[in-house]
């Protein structure tokens, strides 16, 4: 995948995981990123086909695990940890909010 995309993007794309700012992972890390992507796509499919709302949430949890793993693998810098944790805690908090609202709100 090289060359600029229809002349719209000014930089050269060497792989799906790189831009002018993010260096493409090489070798083993790229295989691991593809494993995480496969698991993310599988869990997104299970979220769509599951009819019960409460039982969608564990699949959504698997999805956020794989996405935060991909974030940390693509940004191997100290700020990458903060990005991965922020994404994960945010998505967990959303699942928590959805589940608690669906169950009837917080009890005191």
């Amino acid at each position: 995948m090289s060359g600029d995309l229809f002349g719209l993007i000014p930089w050269t794309i060497e792989s799906p995981f790189s831009s002018s700012y993010v260096v493409s992972p090489s070798g083993d890390v790229e295989i691991i990123v593809w494993i995480c992507i496969a698991i993310a796509v599988y869990s997104a499919f299970r979220v769509i086909v599951e009819p019960d709302v409460m039982r969608k949430l564990p699949f959504l949890n698997v999805f956020s695990f794989s996405i935060s793993g991909i974030i940390a693998l693509l940004i191997p810098q100290p700020l990458g940890i903060i990005a991965a944790v922020a994404y994960f805690v945010g998505s967990t908090f959303e699942s928590n909010a959805i589940a608690s609202t669906w169950a009837g709100g917080v009890e005191d």
Binding site: Y42, P58, G69, P76, I81, T92
Partner: protein, 161 residues
């Protein structure tokens, strides 16, 4: 290539046993931390699962627990070594408080997993294998069959109790 998959499989086994052990010791299957966790447990029980295993799965969804701690510790060690794992531990502690969870399963799991992942890098298993291993480990619990995995978790909980 085969070596990489063996490393990932070994890392997945280590992560699986670590997060199940820490969660069981912290008593996650006993009761739901928030009412959403109890609701997920009831939905899983209605689908033919075990109530204790379902409660643990609901708690994993509702707040960062030892499985999230293991993943984020692996991310931290991959990016920044042991200091990265300790940064992740502090952030998981803050995340636990944000998610209205009084427990310490996530913080404990993240702290132990930091040293487990660092030990793995010393014996030739890189930290990125632990990231893939933890994603596969959570897939076996939360992502394949809720009925069977909740029964397995309920069986392990009876052994611990």
């Amino acid at each position: 290539m085969t070596m990489l998959f063996l490393q990932i499989a070994f890392a997945a086994l280590c992560c699986w046993f670590l997060f199940i052990t820490v969660d069981m010791i912290c008593g996650l299957p006993r009761n739901g931390g928030v009412c959403g966790a109890t609701a997920i447990a009831k939905a899983i029980e209605k689908g033919g699962g075990n109530i204790n295993g379902g409660t643990m799965m609901g708690n994993i969804v509702s707040s960062p627990d030892a499985s999230a701690g293991t993943l984020l510790a692996a991310c931290g060690v991959y990016c920044f070594g042991i200091p990265g794992g300790l940064i992740a531990t502090i952030l998981v502690y803050i995340g636990n408080r944000i998610c209205y969870d009084p427990g310490y399963a996530g913080t404990t799991g993240c702290f132990i997993a930091t040293f487990m992942v660092y030990g793995g890098t010393l014996i030739g298993i890189p930290a990125e294998c632990f990231i893939a291993g933890m994603v596969i480990a959570i897939l076996t619990i939360q992502g394949i069959s809720h009925r069977n995995s909740s029964k397995l978790l309920g069986w392990i909980w009876r052994l611990f109790r």
